[in-house]
């Protein structure tokens, strides 16, 4: 089976996010005054082939822990979907 994993990595609460701050102030300059907070993160799309969904989930989780996020400062979430031909 082919799966598509969609991984989002964001900074943990309390970790300084200069990108988010900069984007927020840029939005303010563009007069989106209602913007209170912007958090910048990273998005990965991973296509993988494995026997079943739970295996795919396990592998994605491992990838997140080992490489895609730095647990000292980042947390992650993911979605998994089957790719049908």
């Amino acid at each position: 089976m082919k799966y598509r994993g969609k991984v989002i990595v964001t900074l943990k609460p309390g970790v300084f996010d200069p990108q988010g701050v900069t984007i927020r102030s840029a939005l303010h300059t563009l007069s989106y005054k209602e913007v209170e907070e912007v958090k910048a993160g990273k998005y990965f799309e991973i296509i993988l082939e494995l026997e079943n969904c739970s295996q795919a989930e396990k592998r994605i989780q491992e990838m997140c822990d080992q490489l895609l996020s730095n647990p000292v400062i980042e947390s992650y979430s993911y979605q998994l979907e089957e790719i049908k031909n």
Partner: protein, 232 residues
């Protein structure tokens, strides 16, 4: 004694470290390719600055999985001396060999400038030629040097601070913190004291013609420490 300078693809201060060690200080120095696991009998390993693997994903995140890093980790666990400079420091924190993480600078930009550092601890193999509280001039050049440590470990880490950013007079405050580092941290050592990570570049301050010779004392300290140990 012998120094080994690790070369990751994208390292760009590897030659500078090699030059200072081999030509200026005239010590035996070799390059170690990131794909090798053999540390070539080195007594001190230098992880140089640069943009290993383009700093893609996160600075240091990919380099930590190089074959050489397995060997460096073992070497460090056995008490071997390791210096991570700038990107090398980032690699060490990513690998969990040193605590904390290096976030993007507070201003969000790359900063290259001379900085003053206060030596917080001279009881280490890397700082024994400095006096405690001494102010030294060593430049920085980085985009991600904002040292972060989880509040849970802050008390514990305080003892491990080696250098802090300060004014030319030694004042440690927010005005003299170029990147927003927690406690103005510029460099830390491991709990056991055999690993140093620092954002400033000592190899850029190792010759009079470059405006400061303070950085060379980091390397000279290592040489002295190693020679004393050998006599013991």
């Amino acid at each position: 004694m012998r120094f080994g300078v690790v070369v990751f693809p994208g390292s760009n201060c590897d030659y500078d470290c090699y030059y200072v060690l081999s030509q200026v200080l005239e010590v035996d120095t070799v390059f170690i390719w990131h794909g090798d696991k053999d540390l070539k009998d080195c007594d001190c390993i230098v992880l140089p600055g640069g943009f290993s693997y383009g700093d893609y994903l996160r600075a240091g995140a990919i380099a930590r999985f190089s074959p050489v890093m397995e060997a460096v980790k073992e070497f460090a666990e056995d008490g071997g001396l390791v210096i991570g400079i700038c990107n090398g420091f980032q690699v060490l924190t990513e690998a969990g060999i040193l605590p904390g993480a290096l976030l993007p600078n507070k201003g969000g930009r790359f900063i290259c400038r001379q900085t003053y550092l206060r030596v917080e601890n001279n009881q280490t193999p890397f700082t024994l030629l400095f006096t405690p509280g001494e102010v030294v001039k060593i430049p920085i050049a980085h985009q991600q040097g904002n040292f972060f440590i989880d509040p849970l470990y802050q008390e514990e880490i305080k003892k491990q601070i080696a250098f802090r950013y300060c004014s030319s007079q030694g004042e440690v405050d927010a005005n003299h913190n170029p990147n927003g580092s927690w406690e103005n941290v510029a460099g830390i050592i491991s709990k056991e004291g055999n690993i140093l990570g620092m954002m400033p570049h000592p190899e850029r301050a190792a010759e009079k013609i470059l405006g400061s010779e303070d950085g060379r004392r980091v390397f000279l300290s290592v040489i002295k420490w190693w020679e004393e140990k050998r006599w013991k």
